[in-house]
Amino acid sequence: MLKTGLFFGKRGHRSQIEGLLFILPYAFLWGFFLIWPLAYGFFISLHKWDPLRGSKFIGLANYVKLFRSPIFWNAFFNTFEFAGIAVPLIIILGLVFALLMQRMSIRGGRFIEASLFFPYLLTVSIVSLVWKWLFDPDVGLVLYYSSRLGLHLPTFLADKFWALPAIAFATAWWLAGYRMVIFKAAMGDIPPELYESAELDGAGGYKKFRHITLPLLRPAILFALILTTISGFRVFGQVIMMTAGGPGRSSEVLALYLYRRGFDYLQMGLAAAVGFILFVIILIITVISFRFLGFESRL
């Protein structure tokens, strides 16, 4: 008894150390470059930060200043507007494409899937440049062809109201193919017998979608929704390259506001506060989605 106990004790001790050693490299990088900056960022946000002449602790003054600034609130609501447009667009387009691809039984399907997916492999700068060119108010293809069709569309990126939706649309073009691949994979996991027995009961395409595909895809869709929402809230590259926040500040989002405060105005404390607020927003969204949409079983 004693002997085996000792044996297990020793072995347990050794495997404890071994287990920790294996996670050590990851844990170090994770702690030093992900968690520590988060704490350090909060620390900076409590200061009038000036590494050269010395920083001054000012408590929550940066946050108070932000909450009183209409420019901050403008960026705040713009961020919500962008996410509110881009996220549903990406998810719906991804879902529709996945359904189309799933039902497609023609040769050359690979080529079509590739065309829908390929934009995802572009970097954000290319997406922005290409769409800025397409949306060009004077000679852009979008306005030219739509006017040929008899539509009188606004000048998108040069229009106060339409700049953000246009950026959101370009973003959806970029990312929908990625969601398509993911949804299609999830659809592939649905047992075909379900469809077969539904067909025997005389269910048509829409009914099958409504009562089999959609419910079974629910977890995948919700998960995609959370991840897309998070990435929507930290949008930056498309905005700075397509409109630089303009016209005026009509498309300035939080990440861009953060960047300008920090690196144009050198108000690092204030910029860090914006970063922390962004973190809190995303944290709240994540917690709410997990609580109310039911994700306990994902792990």
């Binding site: 844990a27 900056p37 390929f118 492999l121 700068s125 996991d189």
Partner: protein, 276 residues
């Protein structure tokens, strides 16, 4: 009768899918078209799809006046290093979480995993000062170090490792193999789909990194492709011939790799989805 209506149906289907695909890649076609068009024909109304002749003037200007090739190399180095380091540390951690017994294992795993929802871009201000102090601004490590500890990586690998039968490992352990050898000889050889999927995911992610790179990289020679393109935009504003040529050159590697590996890439991404 039946056969004919079928043929019409198939024809319609081809037409519909074809139109969809063409509309969707139209922006890319227009980019390539613009890149090889002589300047005077770029800004015409109506737009001209077929130029009177093809020109390399824009491509030449990008390649001769700007360190474009250097940017490409920078991007490749950053993305490759990030992918490799990320694979190594995630494999070790994922193995520990899946196959080693230790107290607190699940707690630590869930802690790591929940950080998946920290948008690390909000860390750019503190990272700037940290990297400044480490003297790493304008270097490759400044870009890849903050992105290698990707929580989705350990999640994916742990999940895969969990499903490898214990009997394989037990046999090796009886032969006196330590954990590292078990990992190397038993686990890794059967984990290639997971490793490939994660490598693809990580490579695309780091290849695309924009916000933090834009802050950490200021020297023209150190820029990665996305930031280099931003610099070009700053210098040329609406000279779209040149900007599209640069975009085309920047797409080229992705396009070639995709044409060769399309199935693998799509399968890899679908794989990350199935597990995550």
């Amino acid at each position: 009768m039946l056969r004919r209506s079928n043929a019409v149906g198939v024809g319609l289907k081809y037409f519909f899918y074809g139109v969809l695909a063409i509309i969707w890649i139209m922006p890319i076609l227009w980019m390539i078209d613009t890149a090889f068009k002589p300047s005077p024909e770029i800004f015409t109304v109506p737009p001209r799809w077929i130029p009177s002749y093809l020109t390399l003037e824009h491509v030449k200007e990008v390649l001769t006046k700007w360190p474009f090739v250097r940017w490409l190399i920078n991007s490749l180095v950053v993305a490759t290093t990030a992918t490799l380091i990320s694979l190594i540390v995630s494999v070790l951690a994922g193995f520990s979480f899946a196959r080693l017994q230790w107290v607190g294992r699940n707690f630590v795993f869930i802690t790591f995993l929940s950080s998946m929802f920290i948008p690390w871009q909000v860390n750019v201000i503190p990272l700037y000062f940290i990297m400044h102090r480490l003297n790493l601004l304008n270097t490759y490590p400044a870009i890849f170090l903050p992105i290698v500890a990707m929580p989705i990586g350990i999640f994916l690998l742990r999940q895969f490792f969990l499903n490898i039968p214990q009997s394989l490992e037990d046999a090796a352990r009886l032969d006196g193999c330590g954990s590292l050898r078990v990992l190397w000889h038993i686990i890794l050889p059967v984990s290639r789909p997971a490793l490939g999927a994660m490598a693809i995911y990580m490579f695309i992610f780091s290849w695309n990194e924009f916000f933090w790179s834009m802050i950490a990289l200021q020297r023209s020679n150190m820029l990665t492709l996305p930031i280099g393109l931003k610099a070009l935009q700053g210098a040329y504003d609406i000279n779209y011939g040149l900007l599209m040529a640069a975009s085309f050159l920047a797409v080229l590697p992705a396009l070639i790799i995709f044409l060769v590996l399309q199935k693998k890439i799509i399968r890899g991404i679908a794989f990350t989805a199935g597990k995550g």
